[in-house]
């Protein structure tokens, strides 16, 4: 019996990518439906739909909603369509409903109106990047600090936003700020860590999560973690948000020592900001990730020693490692498939010292850039959370499908020696990512075994046992599927390298 497909376009119906991903899943789970994708018609999504075998009608624009269904029968298709309507209706009856009752006020339509009506103390913006400047200016005008999760904001706009914020006495955390912790509240992607006196200023989202989780494992709590956006310490931006964040932490009675997590800063800016922090009387430790610098785990260990705190052994569950190491090098290429950009960066920095060229969509060197098909027979590290892979779709920490597909592809690829994966838990992330990842790992290893290959898998897990997904439970699931699981991303990377090259450091 032949499959039946249907593709519809709807204009004037906007939903965010995460909500649509949930709709797609619900519909795909409907009996009789073989495949379903409900998404805004961005270039990337059209590409995905095309590779799924759907024909997209002419004239689809990024503000149009595409509903694409494939079913085993006409009845299945009808069931799928009904499921789409039901799921979309549920979205509409959510927070955007508003004016149901007799004369009740409709939901606020602009962020400024929402700030005023809710008497909000801050704003969290995650609209598509081309709209982020307008929303941020609106929030600043309403008098609140902003966590700007959106990416694709130009450097010029970033500087303008930060200057406007400074004039209004508020902070712009971002753009592309994934993580913040303000007064114990996790914003964006953030882990459940204990309260304490360490204040964090972070130019990197997953870097900040890695540091706060390692500190938590060492029994050290966090007061606040303020994001700054990855370019804040560049010469152009000049540390505008870092200074504002440091000044606020200096004024906070609950904050003692400070850790700044950053990509390599401009030397002059680093010097100025260091002097500025000293002027505020702050004790600042810099955790800077870059060539020739220590990794984040080492930076945390230094901080602990400096603070007179015992450096623990970082939690790790190793599966069949001594046997494999004893068996010698796996050979083949390293395949690092990451959701966290900083974690991917750290893995590449460590790996290139032993392997040389690491090909990537966020390469350390321009000549190590991967083509658009993201393939190489050599060593590869891919950041699935990079701008280029998230336009019009949810971040891989929420929607892991692209990475799961790639894991399956690596399993079938004889040039793949070792799989290195990250898994980031916490608020904002997928409610149970370990289950799907464990399944993918299990299938990948079975597939490789079927081809007569062994496929070692190492997972770098950033999380705590109090995260909604529970790091301990997640670790068990992954280990049961045959993966070694380590809380330190640097240690996980080194283990993957040991397995690959057979060299014990």
């Amino acid at each position: 019996m032949d499959d039946v497909t249907a593709v519809y376009l709807r204009s004037g119906a906007y939903y965010d990518s995460v909500s649509l991903m949930q709709v797609s899943r619900t519909v795909a789970d409907t009996a009789g439906v073989l495949a379903a994708q409900v998404a805004m018609a961005t270039e990337l999504n059209i590409e995905v739909l095309t590779t799924m075998g759907f024909a997209i009608p002419e004239g689809a624009a990024a503000n149009d909603l595409v509903i694409a269904l494939r079913a085993a029968s006409v009845e299945g298709l009808a069931a799928g369509e009904a499921a789409v309507e039901l799921a979309l209706a549920e979205l509409r009856s959510g927070p955007r409903a508003g004016s149901g009752g007799f004369g009740s006020a409709p939901a606020p339509r602009t962020l400024g109106a929402a700030v005023k009506r809710g008497e909000a103390t801050m704003a969290l913006i995650s609209v598509p990047g081309q709209h982020a400047v307008t929303e941020t200016l609106d929030a600043i005008e309403a008098g609140v600090s902003v966590m700007l999760f959106s990416d694709n904001v130009s450097l010029e706009d970033e500087i303008r936003l930060k200057d406007t914020a400074a004039a209004a006495g508020v902070l712009v955390m971002g753009p592309d700020c994934g993580t913040a912790l303000v007064g114990g509240v996790a914003l964006g992607f953030a882990n459940v860590v204990s309260a304490g006196e360490v204040g964090m200023v972070a130019a990197s989202g997953t870097g900040a999560q890695q540091v706060m989780c390692l500190l938590d494992a060492a029994g050290v709590g966090i007061s606040h973690c303020l994001g700054t956006g990855g370019r804040d310490l560049s010469a152009a931006v000049g540390g505008r948000s870092t200074r504002a964040a440091l000044a606020a932490l200096a004024d906070d009675p609950n904050t003692g020592r400070i850790i700044v997590v950053s990509k390599p800063p401009d030397d002059a800016v680093l010097e100025e900001v260091t002097a500025y922090a000293a002027g505020l009387g702050l004790d600042v430790t810099w955790a800077i990730l870059g060539p020739g610098r220590q990794d984040l785990t080492a930076a945390v260990e230094d901080f602990l020693r400096h603070s007179g705190i015992h450096v623990p052994t970082w939690p790790a569950v190793l599966v069949d490692v001594p046997g494999r190491l004893a068996a010698g090098a796996e050979g083949g290429g390293l395949r690092g498939l990451f959701c966290g950009g900083t974690l991917a960066d750290e893995a590449m920095l460590i790996a290139q010292e032993r392997l040389g060229a690491i090909y990537s969509n966020i390469p350390l060197r321009a000549d190590w850039a991967l083509g658009p098909e993201l393939r190489s027979a050599g060593h590869v590290v891919i950041d699935f959370g990079d701008d280029g892979l998230t336009q019009g779709r949810a971040h891989p920490m929420i929607d892991p499908s692209l990475r799961l597909e790639r894991i399956a592809a690596e399993a079938a690829d004889p040039t793949c020696g070792v799989l290195l994966l990250d898994l980031v838990l916490g608020h904002g992330a997928h409610p149970d990512p370990a289950a799907e990842l464990a399944e993918a790992i299990g299938s990948a290893r079975a597939r490789a075994a079927g081809d007569g290959r062994s496929l070692p898998v190492v997972v770098s897990l950033t999380g705590t046992d109090r995260d909604p997904q529970d790091a301990a439970r997640s670790t068990q699931l992954l280990a049961a599927a045959g993966a070694s699981v380590l809380r330190s991303n640097a240690e996980a990377t080194r283990l993957a390298l040991d397995l690959l090259t057979g060299v014990t450091p």
């Binding site: 704003a123 081309q130 929030a139 309403a142 964006g188 606020a248």
Partner: protein
């Protein structure tokens, strides 16, 4: 004592306003954090770059606050009634009309009918055919009322002999004018030009105008802004429902009319005519709103709309920060209820300067104050309540004098902001009368209408172009 850094962000229990991915709002609710979630939608297509630039204009916030402050502070007193030739210096052979500029060739049926009638009334032609020929060959000058700080309902045609209400805003030293209302049915402003229409116009010039002039001069000035504030408490919205306002205006004018130097029969007819017209007030309410928007006009950097007007073909807006430029699009046809046997196919596209009421914060924007209007323009009572509340999303602020009892005396949404219209895609809600599409028909109904969307991105582009380097 300086304020704590970041407005005390680190010392207060976070309350988070969100725009975008609702999962993040859910994650906050899971932590028992208070969340104010925006029902965010992308702005009108292709506007994002200009929006960001206009939003970043450092003058904008203060300019818009000033525009709003002036709009609500503007006064409106009826100070005189005079012929247009006198008060506007309107020359013989020149006609004012509603909406943005238009030429005969593109004029709609009711606009053509009103121009024909005005030519007959002024004695510039003896027959409608002759008037039409002259208009066709451009024998007369056509000019928008707004270009002379005047306003005209529906076709809004003003000729030199017509008598005008003259209103003053002493706070901002502005003057505005509007013709006297002809009543309902077959009237010039709806494009009718039959003998009874021309006869009535002559009576208004000969009898009504001079009488009302005597009354205003004897008892005025009359505080029109004060009457608007009261009529909103009495079930009017000031555009399509003017019942309470009309009675209050008549109450103000009556003593002066009764004591006027004129035959008692003329006075009786003037009072009967005015009292029988439930839109008697509209022609002073409109120039009152014109004074409010005039006060807000011409502020560099302001994105506040100061004119919305239609000529039956085009809908045009003007914006405080872009001077006298019009941003136009094809006028929509209102949806609503029809008189007698008329139906949707008889209706002309939107026409008239009366959308100045919405521009000034009443009319459709005050619909919640006038639930009874749904029997006239269509919709239901929840719609009327919701319409006003929806307009807060696209306005700078609330009116300080015009309030809505059922919304706990909240001020009406006032000062349409181009950036908010473009960002939300919410178009201003206008209540309006409907003219017949065929010249000479008159009114066919009343209903609800919005401006064509393209006016607003066009205004945004002009605002972006006008940005200082």
């Amino acid at each position: 004592m300086t304020s704590p850094p970041l407005q005390g962000l680190l010392h207060t229990e976070p309350v988070v306003a969100t725009a975008g991915v609702s999962l993040f709002a859910e994650a906050l609710r899971d932590q028992a954090v208070a969340v104010a979630e925006t029902d965010w939608m992308p702005p009108m297509a292709g506007t994002e770059a200009e929006l960001a630039r206009v939003m970043a204009d450092p003058r904008r916030a203060a300019a818009n606050a000033l525009a709003h402050a002036r709009m609500v502070a503007a006064e409106a007193s009826l100070v005189d009634v005079r012929p247009a030739a006198q008060c506007l210096g309107l020359e013989r052979g020149t006609f004012l009309h509603a909406g943005p500029p238009i030429e005969w060739a593109r004029a709609s049926g009711p606009m053509r009918g009103a121009l024909i009638g005005a030519a007959l009334f002024e004695g510039l032609a003896d027959t409608p055919q002759e008037a039409e020929r002259q208009l066709e060959r451009g024998a007369f000058d056509l000019e928008p009322c707004h270009h002379r700080d005047a306003v005209g309902p529906m076709a809004g045609v003003v000729s030199p002999s017509m008598w005008m209400y003259e209103l003053r805003d002493e706070v901002h030293d502005n003057t505005s004018w509007c013709s006297l209302n002809e009543g309902l049915g077959k009237v010039l402003r709806y494009g009718a030009y039959g003998p009874e229409v021309i006869e009535r116009l002559h009576w208004m010039t000969r009898v009504l105008g001079p009488l009302v002039q005597q009354s205003v001069r004897a008892t005025g000035p009359v505080d029109i802004k004060g009457i608007i504030a009261q009529m909103l408490q009495m079930g009017d919205e000031g555009h399509n429902r003017n019942r309470a306002g009309s009675l209050m205006l008549l109450r103000e004018l009556l003593p002066g009319l009764i004591t006027a130097q004129a035959p008692a029969s003329d006075i009786a007819e003037a009072v009967r005519f005015s009292g029988a017209n439930e839109h008697f007030f509209l022609n002073v309410g409109m120039p009152a709103c014109k004074l409010a928007t005039l006060a807000a006009h011409g502020i560099p950097g302001s994105t506040i709309v100061t004119t919305m007007a239609r000529n039956g073909t085009d809908f045009g807006i003007r914006v405080s920060g872009t001077g006298d430029a019009w941003f136009t699009g094809p006028a929509n046809t209102p949806q609503g209820l029809f008189l007698g046997d008329y139906g949707p196919e008889d209706a002309n596209p939107d026409i008239g300067d009366s959308a100045i009421t919405e521009t000034g914060g009443i009319g459709g924007f005050a619909m919640a104050a006038a639930p009874a209007i749904v029997k006239f323009v269509g919709g239901d009572v929840p719609f009327a309540l919701e319409a006003t509340q929806r307009m807060y999303a696209i306005t700078q602020g609330e009116h300080t004098a015009y309030t809505v009892p059922i919304l706990e005396f909240r001020g009406t949404p006032t000062g349409i902001d181009v950036t908010k219209v473009v960002r939300t895609g919410i178009l201003p809600q206008i209540n309006t009368g409907m003219a017949g599409a065929v010249a000479g028909t008159g009114q066919v109904g009343a209903g609800l209408v919005t401006p064509p969307q393209e006016c607003f991105p066009a205004a945004l582009t002009a605002l972006a172009v006008a940005l200082p380097d």
